[in-house]
Amino acid sequence: MNEDWREEAPKLAAMEKINPFLVPEGYFEKMHEQLQAQISIHQFDNQQDFFQLPDQYFDTLEGQISSRVKLEQLVGNAAGEVFSVPENYFESLEDKINAKIGITGKKQSNIRKLTSSWITYAAAACITAVLTFGIYNYRTLKTANVESQIAQLPEEDIVNYLQLYSDAGDVQALASNMELVPEASELIPEISDSEIEKYLQSNL
């Protein structure tokens, strides 16, 4: 080795030439095994006949891919419009049809109304009147019907019913009605005040 550099670099020359790096214990002993494993993997990767191919596969591959691309393009077109129409075809279609059937332009057709407006209003008024009359009659009949049914009941049954089910509110209603009935007010003087008071204390 040419040692000229020692004169140019005395500090470097004075240093001991040692290997300062550490390696894991037994590293070089295991290296051979690791390399053999790597080589085995490499050989496995490079096995040409590991995967079987049909004869002349790569010779026909390009043609197959081209056919597939064309097919994909056709399918892609089918997803949109298979047929094309002239530009603005649908905009002019209506006019063409109208021309064929003898209608020119887009005239507003005059359709005669079958009914005039006053007939409509009159019909609505009739329906309203019939409905109002019907509802009124229904309510009147219903009220009269209840009152006539109550009139047919014996007085004793009504008294029994009131004794069983009447409350404080009913007393006021009864009292006000009694004032309207002259027979009841005439009967009261025949009963003494003390009797009435006893009655009320025992029944209310």
């Binding site: 080795m1 550099w5 670099a9 500090k11 240093m15 300062p20 051979h32 080589i39």
Partner: protein, 183 residues
């Protein structure tokens, strides 16, 4: 233990039935030289381990095509050196660091106590090496640590002997300057 001659290894490798035996002999003979050559370049042991394996896998793959116009060990060094340079370039690209920043990345690895068993002076020398460009570091390492001849280095790096001499002397000056100015 008697060293197996390279010619004997190559002869065994040429025969299909003794190929694995030949490769085993080759690995045993050169594994340490190749490992240290790589380790001095990439500093980190795990990186060096990966690159050593990659190097020998390539040796296995291409040894059948090896021509005797160069020595087997310079051919091995050439593969290992290329693996190192490729690895360091990829690492620079991956980390998006400039060429100037890269040596300090290696210098950080040197600070890891599990990687080095050295006194402060040796650590300083390794840090000084990290400031060298990769090819210059390769030249310095092969000359300083492996005592390789310039002619052999020329075969490894594909560079002229004159250029290698100049490169080595520039590297020595840089290192000396670093040692003088960094206490």
């Amino acid at each position: 233990m008697k060293q197996v001659e390279d010619s004997e290894i190559l002869a065994l490798f040429a025969n299909e039935s003794t190929r694995h035996e030949a490769f085993s002999l080759l690995v045993k003979k050169y594994q340490q030289k190749i490992y240290w050559h790589i380790r001095r370049m990439v500093v980190d042991h795990d990186d060096a381990d990966d690159l050593v394996q990659d190097t020998f896998v390539k040796v296995w793959k291409y040894l059948a095509n090896f021509r005797n116009d160069s020595q087997l060990y310079t051919w091995l060094y050439r593969i290992a050196s290329n693996e190192c340079l490729t690895f360091l370039n990829k690492k620079k690209q991956k980390n998006n660091v400039s060429i100037d920043e890269m040596p300090y990345d290696l210098s950080d690895t040197l600070a890891d106590s599990t990687q080095l068993s050295a006194d402060k002076i040796q650590l300083k020398l390794q840090k000084a090496l990290c400031i060298l460009p990769e090819k210059q570091r390769l030249v310095f390492n092969m000359k300083y640590y492996d005592d390789m001849k310039y002619e052999e280095m020329s075969q490894v790096l594909g560079t002229s002997v004159g250029a290698l001499k100049a490169s080595f002397h520039i590297a020595v000056k840089k290192i000396e300057n670093y040692l003088m100015n960094n206490d």
